[in-house]
Symmetry: C2
Subunit: 134 residues, 2 copies
DNA sequence: ATTGACGTTTACGTTAACGTAAACTAATTC
DNA sequence: GAATTAGTTTACGTTAACGTAAACGTCAAT
């Protein structure tokens, strides 16, 4: 693992495109080194890409993700800064917990539908012992 | 609770706008009754609105949400339809589980940052016993 | 009868997050 | 040295999910 990556390497590795990585950079989410014109992405850039993708999967906007990944860098300030950081982290944590509650509610709903679905199925074909899921 | 609602009542109740409800209807997510021109929303429409909002909070697109809320209505088909429905439900369930795993990973990351943050804080002010969070 | 309050349709505007294309550079490779 | 390959900037296009505005209907109250 060479610890430095071109834009096409990094984009392919995570299933994005060079355009996307440049856009994220223009939005302040990445800041790769330069060798002349070319961008050189480090391991640190890679983990940020992972964080960004995870944030997107969770439905956060790029602006929110910028704030969140910013939290990781701000862990070296003065006392007041650190307290503010802890507050922001607490807010994000509450957001995530709320989102997880939504997920659990959705899972329960879907399980309810699945249950009544299985009930109807076994009512429809009480004799036929076909392929059935667990 | 009158069991029938105007568009402004319903939109205010859930913090959206009439425009949004009409748009969702045009996208096939809602189908309220009509009294002449006016839309009349039922309890069933209300629960769908709740489902839609929850789907949005989880980062699903309207098209995906349309598919998901469609699952709730399709629970009355033939055997083959029901099996397909169960498959779709399983897919959505896996999606939600993956999303919850992302959330848990994010929570763990944030907790790590918070921890090192608290460590720095107590290192910075070892004497001062100020206000501190749990 | 007109003024609101509430509703309607139709249509164009807006923002986020890129896609796509053009025109250029810089380093191999044939 | 011409072509290929990978990268660059700049700029315009696109899609989703509405916002906003225009022009209109309807019904109760002034």
């Amino acid at each position: 693992m060479p610890s430095l990556f071109s834009i096409s390497e990094l984009s392919q590795e995570y299933g994005t495109t060079p355009r996307t990585l440049r856009f994220w950079e223009s939005e302040g989410l990445l800041a790769p080194r330069r060798e002349g014109q070319r961008r050189l992405y480090s391991q640190r850039d890679r983990t940020r890409v992972k964080l960004i993708l995870r944030g997107q999967r969770l439905g956060f906007t790029l602006a929110e993700i910028a704030e969140i990944v910013g939290l990781y860098d701000a862990a070296d300030g003065e006392s007041a800064q650190l307290s503010l950081l802890l507050d922001k982290i607490a807010l994000r944590r509450d957001e995530l917990l709320a989102k997880r509650a939504d997920i659990d509610a959705s899972l329960a709903d879907l399980e309810g539908v699945a249950e009544s679905c299985r009930a109807r199925l076994s009512a429809l074909e009480p004799k036929q012992r076909k392929k059935r899921r667990a």
